[in-house]
Amino acid sequence: MSALDGVPGALARLEARQALGRPAPNAAPVRFTLDGNEITALPGETILQAAARHDVPVPHLCYTEGLRPDGNCRACMVEIAGERVLAPSCCRYPTKGMQVSTKSKRALKAQKLVLELLLTDSPEPAPGVDSELNRWARQLGVSAYRLPRRAQPEPDLSHPAIEVRLDACIQCTRCVRACREEQVNDVIGYAHRGSEAKIVFDLDDPMGLSTCVACGECVQACPTGALLPVLTQAPGERPRPERVVESLCPYCGVGCQTTIHVRDDRVHAIEGRDGPSNLGRLCVKGRFGFDYVHHPQRLLKPLIRREGVPKDAMQLADPGRPLDVFREASWEEALDAAACGLQALHSSHGPGALAGFGSAKGSNEEAYLFQKLIRVGFGTNNVDHCTRLCHASSVAALMENVSSGAVSNQVSDVQYADCFLVIGANPTVNHPVAATFMKNAIERGAKLILADPRRTELARHATHVLQFRPDTDVALLNAMLHTIIDEGLANRDFIRDRTLGYEALAGMLRAYSPEAMQHICGIPAAEIRAAARLYATSPRAMIFWGMGVSQHVHGTDNARCLISLALLTGQIGRRGTGLHPLRGQNNVQGASDMGLIPMFYPDYRPVTDPAARAYFGELWGRADLDPEKGLTVVEIMNAALKKQVRGMYIMGENPAMSDPDVAHAREALAALDFLVVQDIFLTETASLADVILPASAFPEKTGTFTNTDRRVQLGRAALPLPGEVRQDLWIIQELARRLGLDWSHRESADVWQEIRRAVPSSGGITWERLEREHAVTYPCRNEGDPGESVIFTQSFPTPTGRAQFTPAEFRRGDEPPDAEYPLVFITGRILEHWHTGAMTRRAGVLDALEPLPMVSMAPAELAKLGLAPGDAVTVRSRRGSVTALVRRDPAVPAGSVFMPFAYVEAAANLLTNPKLDPFGKIPEFKYCAVGVERAATAPGVAGYGIAAEVWAGGEAEARAEGPAAS
């Protein structure tokens, strides 16, 4: 297994084939004769693959690497000695001594006829489209058309991202396999028979009205340009890229590798690259959400707040008109101003008056230098980032019980699982490409237990759907734990050999029978028992969770229960088992590893540990590092309001949108004496800054990013910096120098060298290897280590080597619904928009797909309130209110309201409760009380001026019907 790790594509190929359930092909190399030459096919290679590797091209259209060979186009026919009929080389495996001819008269004739038949009804390829059909036709010299062209279908231009031009379709079904087998979105079908056979979306709906989630996999798979990305620039022309750059997707923690196509220094397309975490797949954000970098609102010059313009938490600056509030400045002036402002507060109020928020969107190198700057330059541990808001409680529970906050097994391990539990996560929306691997596993036979208050998309694929009442995770999970002990399904050996604290857990669990808990969590006892049994008795079972678990005042307890579940059954430390908190941001794992957290130095060494302090004091050349834990995100905001924190440096984070009770957070930011913000847009946070430093966007920089799988991957710069924008690394280092540190300017590769010393678990990963292999999994302590994809195989990294059971009693959330606020408010994300929307709402396709803030409610709840989809409603909590359109969504349970937090014009976080989990210090984003009523006035259309006008009026109502209604 591990031998294949790191060989790009090899494992993927093997797994893809296993997933098909077809008999295993040649397990050993095979010698056979190809066109008279003896060659060797590698294990699992088809005739076509072996030929290609020996530079013998065989025409092929329906076959493409990564998809199940289907053998339908018959362009790849070869003649095998002794066989009556020709064979499709894309699906035939050679056997020993087989004699294959790719160019016999008969084979060539068959290949050419296929090309002719297809070419006859195909249009000339659109300019810039490199049709594989035309390429092979040229190569084989096929051009004669012996029949006139038939009438061809009209283009379908109903989708904002994808053009459908079926006149160019050759029925190869690559798109069908991409959509159904690879992404398992089940949108594209092959309808009708014979020459009437055609590609359809759903029941032959226009693509734009179908259930398509715009992952674009079909576009990437299509060999002829029948499916094309909508042109975002220079309509009518599809220029070939001037260069392609191998990089990464900037959005979620899955860590998809991409190929960025660049022309005229602009991104002009993104393709999925065969990375270990994505195997060439992408989602709508990664594939189509790239043009934000070219948005006219990009900050291109340093800005300084105009004299006398007050900071108004209630009236944020217009991101399209920064000069109303700020004036442009030179880098020299802006950096001096930033450094002076912070320095002055340091002198007058001491290090504790300063704080920094780094970003999980930045690289490891940026995160590392950022926390180092705060610790060494500011002299405080007041440094944090948005991991606090997503998985702090998960990490707290993991650190407490297994002494490691990272995932134990990678997403791709789900291939080996017989069963997996997904709880409090909506991967098809938030980790779409990870979700494809889960769906692949289910197609292969794995069983899914889905636990979530919302009936999310994965429910369609689940064996058990546990739609429990919001806030009752612990009741449900304890009942499952109870069942496992009660029914004798616990793994006695594992508990005896590898854990501590079983007795205490078992004792506490006695009170948590499913029969008692069913009334609390709303899941019938028999169902709880069945799910627990399935998890416990499966040979290999995995757990994935998301922020539905972590973002509660009892988030740490929720995670403790999940850890106990794995420990109790011994479902950890092996392939296809383990614990996987799905990380949110593209570098949230890395930012945490780099010590961008107030209680830990890099590699999770506690700041309170004198040995750790001594080590980093030495490495960083400052003996008197702050010995106290710093404040966390929400605590810093509170401290700012109390004037305990007075100055901040915020890089690439947007607390003015992402914090709970965001009005309060905005007040806190406004209350700061001095705020430096480094970002690519005038975010809500930046609008309260004193100095704004224009930052580099993802495709403009090179650095490493660590995904949810503990894979360190290399992102490479594809674009030059626009305007006067500078590299973030340069900015941090310039500030450091102005704060009196003797830092020289170093590139990412150089900073990585230092990181290897600071983070020994990644110490074996060299920059050269990253450049070569693009991704390396840690732990990788010594150069040449393959990297451990499964950890805890022998022991846990705790002092005793054993994991700990920590019992968790059921407690209620902080703010249950009541008469005045009768509904539960759940926040989250939608597929098209990332986090606070700063990037995605400035990406044309994404903005067009989801332009307006929506509140989703159950049909029954709408009926109760006399509301129709598309009506404007006001949602109010004890902290604020927002107005948005209401969407009918049967996935939302009655009694609840769901709202994404990406929309500034209706910022969901104005409503959320800042109450913290006592251990993880994570706020309760997933549960507070609200009331909903019809709004007096409709919300204004906002956004960032891309598609807004298109959606004014009736379109919005159509959209409000939601996917389930269409």
Binding site: D70, G71, R74, R92, R193
Partner: protein
């Protein structure tokens, strides 16, 4: 109800009870010796049963003539779930034998299928029946119910402890679903289109598990072989084509219908004596001997034994022994065009040569028929037809090409007449 025609020379084994409604019931069937063979088989080991079928040299009656016992022996005792599929999709123009077997002798079919299931250690039999077979489906369903009630199907077959379930599944009007792997896809609820082979059904069949599939007639034969022995079966017919076969006679004949004869029976005799020759005193122009998917034979080529190997030497195939006989008034181009249109309509549409090729053939045939063809079109037909043969996932493509190629070889003058090179033959009559 008496069955339409009988002939003294027939050897009625499978069709012995055609026209006898009593034989449809379990009691009636048992009186006629029914389910004795199943009992005999259950007393043997599965391998022994397969061995008997192998020794009988029985060849599949679904068209390809593949040795049945050999096919059964491909399934190994590997502990995986195995399935028996009964191919009762009979949709080929000219074929109507399986329908009659289902209508008159449903228990004969069940018995054969159960023996097959026992022999390959399958616990489930699926009978996939053409959707239009409304009456046969009702009859077979009733027989299944009777078999369950009598303990012949279900958890303890005839008290042997062996479990064999039987499910009847109706198709939905696609000829292609008679192709064995398309049938499997259809049964599984997928799009009914053939699968690429290898892997073959014995390795990757229904639901991805080892599967045996046989034609209705093939399985109906099995109980007789078990009861009377392989030698008995081999004593009928020729060396390479053992036993009897139902001949489905249709077209411009005086007597039409099913006739059961030992394989090797003379084709000319069959047409002229048994079926009384051509109607209305006309003469014979062409015969398609094995269902619409085999090459046609001209009148002078018919003095041959109806055995797989002998029809093959004559340049065609015995196929399902569904003979379509055409008289001298037949417009060959029109007939071929209609057959080609049938295949174009029924092509599942995945393989390029078949999807595009059948559509091309049909367009060219229509063009010729309308008098707008050229001689280049004939060359194109040949070129296309040859390249549609042996190049696709299933043989539907070959089947579409067969009538075109054989008619061009044997009746080229009729094509030439239509492209203005000779006087139209049809008009001369």
């Amino acid at each position: 109800m008496a069955y339409p025609y009988r002939d003294e020379r027939e050897v009625r084994i499978l069709s012995a009870h055609f026209g006898d409604p009593e034989a449809r019931t379990l009691a009636g069937w048992r009186q006629r010796g029914g389910y004795e063979a199943l009992g005999q088989a259950l007393a043997l080991s599965p391998e022994q049963v397969t061995e008997i079928v192998k020794n009988s040299a029985l060849r599949g009656r679904g068209g390809a003539g593949f040795p049945t016992g050999l096919k059964w022996s491909f399934l190994r005792n590997d502990g995986r779930p195995h399935y028996v599929l009964v191919n009762s999709d009979e949709s080929e123009p000219g074929a109507f034998k399986d329908r009659e077997l289902c209508r008159w002798t449903p228990h004969q079919l069940l018995e054969g299928a159960l023996i097959n299931a026992y022999a390959i250690r399958a616990q489930h039999v699926y009978i996939y029946m053409r959707g239009e077979f409304f009456e046969p489906a009702q009859i077979v369903a009733r027989a299944i119910d009777e078999a369950y009630a009598a303990g012949i199907a279900g958890p303890d077959v005839l008290g042997s402890g062996v479990t064999i379930d039987v499910t009847l599944h109706l198709g939905a009007g696609a000829y292609i679903c008679g192709e064995e792997t398309a049938l499997m896809n259809s049964l599984e609820g997928r799009r009914g289109q053939p699968r690429v082979k290898p892997p073959f059904p014995a390795v990757f069949g229904a639901f991805g598990q080892p599967t045996n599939i046989n034609n209705v007639e093939t399985l109906c034969t099995v109980p007789h072989i078990i009861r009377n022995g392989a030698d008995w079966w081999r004593s009928i017919g020729t060396d390479k084509s053992t036993g009897t076969k139902l001949f489905n006679m249709s077209g411009h004949l005086v007597r039409r219908g099913n006739f059961e004869f030992p394989l090797g029976f003379n084709m000319k005799e069959l047409i002229y004596d048994v079926c009384g020759g051509i109607r209305d005193g006309r003469s014979l122009k062409a015969v398609i001997p094995g269902g619409s998917s085999v090459p046609m034979l001209a009148a002078h080529e018919l003095d041959i034994p109806c055995a797989y190997e002998r029809v093959a030497t004559a340049g065609s195939k015995l196929g399902t022994a569904s003979m379509i006989v055409m008289d001298d008034r037949t417009d060959i181009v029109k007939q071929v065009r209609r057959m080609v249109e049938f295949y174009a309509h029924e092509s599942c549409g995945q393989c390029t040569p078949c999807r595009e090729g059948t559509a091309w053939l049909a367009r060219i045939m229509r063009r010729i028929e309308a008098g707008q063809g050229t001689e280049a079109d004939l060359a194109l037909l040949v070129d296309l037809g040859k390249n549609m043969t042996g190049t696709t996932i299933c043989v539907l493509s070959d089947s579409a090409a067969a009538p075109v190629l054989s008619s061009l070889a044997k009746f080229k003058d009729e094509y030439l007449a239509l492209i203005g090179r000779a006087a139209p033959v049809a008009a001369a009559v």
